[in-house]
């Protein structure tokens, strides 16, 4: 038995919870399979997710459903302009009886964090959250606390209503592994949503996965085999965002102000492995890379004024790149 076959069998065993998770979530979330799949990929590859979509597309509900399906501590933080970093990380409170300061941990000490409308909070609060996301630890007073594992931040932001918002800086957006853009459901799904809401019957989501299973699955995801050819393919895609001319994409030179960072390469590889795991494969194929490429790169490509003036989006740039890079 080859190592890949062995890995495939392990994946079959370890990934059984993926179906259970999807089934539980589908009780509440109708359609939006794409979003559900990306949430699971984030969970498996230990990457934070930024969900973007207009109001009413079940972004918050999807994250709440995911947390309900996992035996894990969940916190929801509604970001507002008057929020303070201490409201997230916690603070020191003076205990008069003991005559000492005691730590009161904030909502960030949970497994799953829903940062709702992250762009409504000022920069210092965003920084506090994003620092915790990166370091996976928080310092209160002079004491440092590790955040629980798994620790996953799922943030939402609204692309419309830009008034009174604080757009996330490029450096901070880069900390999110995936940026998932949610679209409208199709007609059939919309009918189902309508019927379910009118009937006023909301199914209960049962916890089906323990955090330990997720941590174990994360270990398997990292073992998913990635051939050198796939590695080269990933590097070619990221390099094409930085130096389009070298890939005969001269027309993109004027449209890209900055390309993907090395974090983009790492995240694209990890997400492709997680995608292969979800598809019950012990190896990555070019389809996996292409399937997840938009979600990893769309927030990591800076557009120039020329691109914005011509209404060219990062999606179109990624499409151009994928159509120009030779598949191994």
């Amino acid at each position: 038995m080859t190592d890949i076959q062995e890995l495939n069998e392990r994946i079959q065993r370890e990934s059984s919870f993926v179906d259970l998770l999807q089934m539980e979530m589908s009780k509440v979330i109708i359609g939006q399979k794409y979003m559900t799949e990306r949430l699971i990929i984030g969970l498996l590859s230990n990457g934070h997710i930024l969900l973007e979509g207009i109001p009413g597309l079940a972004k918050t509900l999807a994250i709440k459903s995911l947390s309900s399906a996992i035996h894990a501590k969940f916190s929801r933080i509604q970001f507002t302009p008057d929020l303070l970093p201490a409201d997230l990380v916690g603070t020191m409170i003076y205990n008069q009886r003991k005559e000492e300061f005691t730590v009161r941990k904030g909502p960030l000490f949970s497994n799953l964090i829903l940062a709702d409308e992250i762009n409504r909070a000022p920069a210092k609060v965003q920084s506090a959250l994003l620092e915790a996301m990166q370091e996976r630890q928080v310092t209160i007073g002079d004491e440092t606390f590790s955040l629980p594992e798994p620790f996953l931040v799922l943030a939402t932001q609204n692309p419309i209503e830009q008034e009174g918002t604080y757009p996330l800086p490029e450096a901070q957006v880069d900390r999110f592994m995936l940026k998932v853009v949610i679209g409208y459901p199709n007609q059939e799904d919309e009918r189902m949503i309508m019927r379910q809401n009118i009937a006023n019957t909301y199914p209960t989501i049962n916890p089906v996965v323990r955090p330990e299973a997720i941590l174990k699955a994360r270990g398997v995801v990292r073992e998913v085999y990635m051939d050198e050819k796939i590695e080269k393919y990933i590097i070619d895609i990221v390099f094409a965002t930085r130096f389009p001319k070298e890939y005969k994409l001269n027309k993109l030179t004027q449209l890209i102000s900055f390309g993907g960072s090395p974090r983009a390469t790492i995240n694209l590889a990890l997400a492709a492995k997680a995608y292969a795991f979800v598809k019950r494969r012990g190896y990555v194929i070019p389809e996996d890379v292409r399937a997840i490429c938009h979600d990893v790169l769309r927030h990591r490509i800076g557009l120039t004024y020329e691109a914005e003036a011509e209404n060219i989006t990062s999606e179109e740039i990624i499409n151009e790149i994928l159509n120009a890079i030779e598949v191994p």
Partner: protein, 334 residues
């Protein structure tokens, strides 16, 4: 004694007569120079223009300098000054010089025009002499307004028609420039049109080779290389996959080299190829993917089967010979 008295009387008489002679000669020269100023009208309406004529009559043998008129004269504005016109020449005994000033005033009242002072030097005399015109008085009247009448609206600006002369004066440089440019362009065009075209004697015929021909040749080359027999299984499957994808690209104008296996197979869902060809393509590409990305080691008979599938796919989907037309391209000029 009487003689002495006579001599004294004679000296006195000579002195007195010399003085009279000097006065007489001086008067004669002065009387020959005359400076006059004359107005066409001594009373004008406010804003009206009137001409002031300055005339000097003088002997031609004196050094004379004309008075430079100032820009304004006690509330009177000098609109225009004509050149000094001379009547007579150096040979004439008397010369007349004339200058006409156009003056106006924009305020009512009485304006004295001060005398114009001219300087001159007489022949063989270093003294500086002056002569001046008389003072004139210009009366500027306002316009009588009948307060009993209605107030009228402001008149529109007067229409000043744009004449060809004005156009020509302001644009003649552009007209000449444009004409010059047209002539230059026409010249260049004529030069190039009259140049004889170099017609190549021998035309190289470049025949675009059919996609299947290239693919079959490449497959034969891979077969000869005996890659899998020498342990290069991954390279063998990569070559087969690349040859077939290049063939699809040339044969069907699909960017197959930039598409994944699923995308290529999806492309053929619309019935461009028959089921047999699609099955062979699916088997070949899927197995090649497994070898390339999942370290799968197929059995030797599968290696041969894949090569056979590749040959069969090309043979089934090859285009007819008559569809392929050679493309003629001229030999590039030296």
């Amino acid at each position: 004694m009487n003689k002495l008295i006579d001599i004294k009387l004679l000296k006195k008489a000579l002195t007195i007569s010399s003085i009279f002679l000097f006065i007489y000669v001086n008067n004669v020269v002065s009387q020959n120079i005359q400076a006059t100023a004359k107005l066409d009208a001594t009373t004008i309406k406010i804003g009206d223009q009137v001409k002031l004529h300055l005339t000097v009559q003088r002997p031609s043998n004196i050094v004379f300098s004309w008075a430079t008129p100032p820009d304004s004269l006690n509330g009177i504005e000098i609109v225009e000054s004509s050149k000094v016109d001379t009547i007579g020449n150096k040979d004439s005994v008397v010369m007349t010089e004339v200058q006409t000033l156009t003056i106006t005033s924009f305020d009512t009242g009485y304006y004295p025009i001060p005398p114009f002072v001219f300087h001159y030097k007489k022949d063989k005399d270093t003294n500086d002499y002056t002569i001046e015109t008389q003072t004139l008085l210009l009366t500027v009247n306002g316009i009588q307004i009948d307060l009993a009448k209605d107030i009228k609206g402001i008149k529109p600006p007067l229409d000043a028609p744009f004449t060809f002369t004005e156009f020509w004066q302001s644009n003649k440089n552009y007209v000449f420039g444009g004409l010059g440019l047209i002539i230059l362009i026409a010249g260049i065009l004529i030069y190039f049109l009259r140049r004889k075209k170099v017609v190549p004697i021998f035309v190289e015929k470049i025949v675009k080779r059919p996609a299947h021909e290239i693919a079959l040749e490449s497959l034969q080359a891979v077969e000869k290389e005996k890659l899998w027999q020498n342990g290069f299984v991954k390279q063998y499957y990569s070559s087969l996959s690349d040859i077939i994808r290049t063939y699809i690209e040339n044969r069907y104008n699909v960017i197959a080299m930039e598409l994944t296996t699923d995308e290529i197979l999806f492309h053929f869902n619309r019935g461009q190829i028959n089921t047999e060809a699609k099955d062979k393509l699916t088997h070949l590409l899927k197995l090649a993917d497994l070898v390339k990305f999942a370290k799968v080691q197929p059995l030797p008979n599968e290696h041969d089967l894949c090569l056979t599938d590749a040959y069969s796919f090309v043979e089934i989907t090859r285009s007819n010979e008559e569809d392929i037309k050679p493309i003629e391209e001229p030999t590039p000029e030296n």
